[in-house]
Amino acid sequence: MTIITILGFLLIIIGLWGMLTRKHLFRIILGFSIIDTGIHLVIVSLGYIKGRTAPIFDADLSPIDAINRIVDPIPSALVLTAIVIGLAVTALMLVYVIQMHRHKGSLEISDYEELKW
């Protein structure tokens, strides 16, 4: 499914563009979460094989001929853990933003100029 790979790369690019150009801190985190979704789409779409089913054995899919009938299980497993970590990292970044807002009272990135050169 090349089209889904392209879709994932487009989402990564849009998210990165948003992170670089938007000023509001919440928008930057939204851009990060868009990048996250895009990367997951790319990884899962690389493991897909045309015309095959999910790697779950049941009455229709016996373990004997599984090697010719299932998609790659490893990208699914990796993305499974990556999504949960994505939520945790997003929550951590939001708490940072809350803390920054508590100290300075502003949510615009241009107001934080201590590290500006």
Partner: protein, 84 residues
């Protein structure tokens, strides 16, 4: 047929991504970013990865939105207190 579904979903996802970055109202932007995850979970079903689809639907569109909304609530509340 499946290709049509993917193309429609893809266009909707890209539109929702731009909405999440450029809508004026922050609440609508957060909800648009939840919608991206929801449509991505449909795509995972098409890609034969039901585990990932469940996780994305529950975490990406459910809990992430809730966390964002809680954070927005905290920040807005502080601002209102400042203005008083």
């Amino acid at each position: 047929m499946i290709l049509t579904i993917i193309i429609v979903l893809g266009i909707l996802m890209l539109a929702a991504a731009f909405m999440a970055l450029y809508l004026k109202d922050l609440l609508s932007a957060i909800i648009a970013s939840g919608a991206i995850s929801l449509m991505a979970s449909v795509i995972y079903i098409i890609l034969a990865a039901p585990d990932v689809a469940m996780t994305e639907a529950a975490i990406g569109s459910g809990l992430t939105t809730i966390v964002f909304l809680y954070a927005l609530h905290l920040v807005r509340k502080k601002q209102e207190d400042k203005h008083d």
